[in-house]
């Protein structure tokens, strides 16, 4: 930690709390996100226990009332998407990687960056505070449909509901500020010589995700203001009795909500692309194809939202239209998967921990993607809607994205972030301990969903069709697997903390990668580069026939193979 001495001695507060350094802000986002994930993980443990063993006193929580159950489910979803997936995948990796990978010393607006984190922290505190107000946190599901969300007489949380809306609104503002910073930095602060197609895919993905977020969240922010007025002042935006319309919220929410899926998917896909190229020692297949597929996905993601509302009373002709667009959007995503597999084809693959996570991402996300086609068909959705089939489907997308994507990224960039190597053996134990239980949680939920189990019920005791021994066994398998998966996360935490202090010292470039972050010391000092690099070629020149070593750093002077091939 010698960087503190270069300018002046910084106090602990200056250096870690009110820092404007993009790396510290990235860590702040990451650790806040992980802390929130622990809360989200605890919530799911409590309500899964209630579902598997209805009415028991859950150890560590106690009896789960219906009000508490609703609140737990709602806030589990809210936290995992808005306070874990987004801060960790976009904000933490984006902040850490963007300046390092483009050869800059920081973001273009470091103080706006700091403000972004502070607003984010405030939003997290508001959300946590909402659990402790009378009647507890909001329980109207993370989608917050009115009238359930708008009227206290229905949701029974007169304080929790508005606090939830305020927390989500603040979080959006934080990500808008961060997103503007990300986009501007990538557009304007690249190292000399780094052209559009020399940018590492992960940065493209994070920035395209930021643009998608920015373009989709506005209507929901407006909608959130309207919802807040409905809750607090008593306006009737969503109340048909006053001339409003509850469906309006659903449109505003899902106009954001569906692009949001891609907002978190793209950074994870980007992380996986980096890892695959490095551990396959091959040039990433179809760089431009990946990029154009992502553009297509981004544009299409704005015209699929109503597939969440097939049974909400929308016009059937509109449902047809949205079925078609929904099925079309799986084409560019499938394209991405094929291109990634083509990178692996014929490669000499090293099965290191990051690579295992990257491969698991592909395999598991595929299941999530394919089951999405069922739900995108408006006819089938009439049956599947609001069953556990939907729950299993989106967990097969979001768990690979948020959890597997995060572990892929952290195991790959850990040496750069903390200057030490993670323990490979325990990394692999943690990998299998997470992946195997994960499938045992959600495959039973597919079966339960197909059997007709509805999502929003806190116990099936009073539903004889659903409270059979067979179905209850499936619920118990899912819950026990969940506890196993949660328990294996301890392995990761211990491994991380131990490696952080006692791990093998990391070299500058332990994976022999090409991108610019691997040209600076691990961990990078304040200001990153002693001498700003110049970029000569794309990021994925591995195993080039003209070279003795199998990698070709972007900043090494010499010819650009992309040019000589023309």
């Amino acid at each position: 930690m010698s960087e503190a001495h270069t300018h002046h001695e910084m106090s602990f507060w200056e250096k870690y709390v009110f820092s404007t350094d993009h790396k510290i802000i990235g860590f702040q986002y990451m650790f806040t996100g992980l802390f929130m994930a622990l809360i989200g993980g605890f919530f799911v443990y409590v309500f899964r226990m209630q579902l598997a063993f209805p009415g028991i006193d859950v150890p560590g929580f106690g009896h789960v009332s219906e009000l508490a159950y609703n609140s737990l489910v709602t806030n589990h979803g809210t936290i995992m998407i808005f306070w874990f997936a987004m801060p960790v995948l976009i904000a933490a990796f984006g902040n850490f990687l963007i300046p390092l990978m483009i050869g800059a010393d920081d973001m273009v607006f470091p103080r706006i960056n700091r403000l972004s984190y502070q607003i984010f922290l405030l939003s997290a505190l508001v959300l946590i505070a909402s659990f402790f107000v009378p009647n507890g946190g909001f329980g109207g599901s993370w989608t917050a449909y009115p009238p359930l969300s708008a009227e206290a007489q229905y949701n029974a949380t007169p304080l929790g509901a508005p606090m939830w809306v305020i927390a989500v609104g603040l979080e959006f503002v934080a990500f808008l500020l961060g997103g503007i910073n990300f986009i501007t930095t990538l557009m304007n602060a690249r190292a000399p010589g780094m052209k559009m197609y020399d940018i590492p895919i992960v940065l493209w993905m994070i920035v395209i995700a930021s643009i998608l977020f920015m373009c989709s969240v506005g209507p929901l922010l407006a909608g959130a203001i309207m919802l807040l007025f409905d809750q607090l002042i008593g306006t009737g935006f969503y109340n048909p009795a006053h001339g409003g319309d509850p469906l309006l919220w659903q449109h505003l929410f899902w106009f954001f909500g569906h692009p949001e899926v891609y907002v978190v998917l793209l950074p994870a896909m980007g992380i996986v692309a980096e890892i695959m190229a490095v551990f396959a020692r091959k040039k990433l297949f179809g760089y431009k194809t990946i990029l154009y597929s992502v553009f297509a996905t981004g544009i299409l993601s704005f015209v699929v939202w109503a597939h969440h509302q097939f049974i909400a009373g929308i016009d059937p002709r509109m449902a047809n239209l949205f079925t078609v667009t929904t099925l079309i959007i799986s084409v560019p995503i499938a394209e991405l998967c094929f291109v990634y597999i083509a990178t692996l084809y014929g490669a000499s693959i090293t099965f290191s921990t990051p690579m295992l996570w990257a491969l698991a991402f592909m395999a598991e996300f595929l299941i999530g993607g394919v089951t999405g086609i069922f739900l995108g068909a408006s006819g089938l959705d009439v049956y599947y809607h609001d069953t556990y089939f939907v729950v299993a489907h989106f967990h097969y997308t979001f768990v690979p994205i948020a959890i597997i994507g995060f572990y892929a990224g952290i195991t790959y960039w850990f040496p750069k972030m903390f200057g030490r190597m993670l323990n490979e053996y325990w990394g692999k134990v943690h990998f299998w301990g997470t992946i195997i239980p994960f499938n045992f949680i959600f495959i039973p939920l597919f079966i339960l969903g197909a059997a007709g189990q509805h999502r929003r019920i806190s116990g099936y005791v009073h539903f004889p069709d659903l409270y059979t021994q067979d179905l209850q066994n499936l619920r118990i398998i899912a819950t026990v697997s969940l506890i196993a998966m949660l328990a294996f996360q301890v392995v990761f935490i211990v491994n991380m903390v131990y490696s952080w202090f006692r791990g093998k010292k990391a070299e500058i470039n332990p994976w022999k990668a090409n991108t610019l972050e691997w040209t600076v010391p691990s961990p990078p000092p304040h200001g990153n580069f002693a001498e700003f690099p110049t970029v000569y070629r794309g990021p994925y020149e591995y195993s080039h026939p003209d070279r003795e070593v199998d990698y070709w750093p972007q900043n090494e002077p010499g010819p650009d193979p992309a040019k000589s091939r023309k």
């Binding site: 300046p99 010393d105 607006f109 557009m187 969240v217 506005g218 209507p219 407006a222 006053h242 001339g243």
Partner: protein
Amino acid sequence: MAFQVPVATSRSSTGIPTSRLAVWWVLASEIVIFGGLLMSYLLFRLLHTSWGYEAAHTNPYAGGFNTFVLLTSSLFVVLAHQAAEVGDTKRSFRYIWYTIAGGGVFMLVKAYEYTSEIMHGYTMLKSVFWSFYYTATGLHGFHVLCGMVIMGIIAQDVKKGKNLHRVEAIGIYWHFVDVVWIFLFPLLYIAK
């Protein structure tokens, strides 16, 4: 705390100054916020022709006057930018304050409108039209107010000859606030 502007801020890979680029992205995000609100309003409005009778109780003369005031203040901010470009900090400072004054007059007229409407019983709870009216004009007024505060801060810098490029950035923002009003005025006041 000593804050050093990083090298990244002074780079310009696109050839567009970073501050201008960032403001355009801010506007992109603002467009969808106002766009979402106005789209919701428009769709309702097309369904409920009765809202025309409610709109008849707005004051188009005050609104028209405010349109004129805002457009004039936009001219002032252009003149402030022009002065900043040639380094005439005094003139730039003066024009920035004319712009702020324009925003102030706008807010006063708006306050008068709100007061008389509320006195006549057209509160936010009267109907969804009025809910939209207060939400949209309120959100716009909030943007006017923010612009005024930021301009006040920038004016202090300009006086000392610092950060002259920020005059352009706030100018772009101010034009946007103006354009939003150009949409709000006919939609809420004139369309009957």
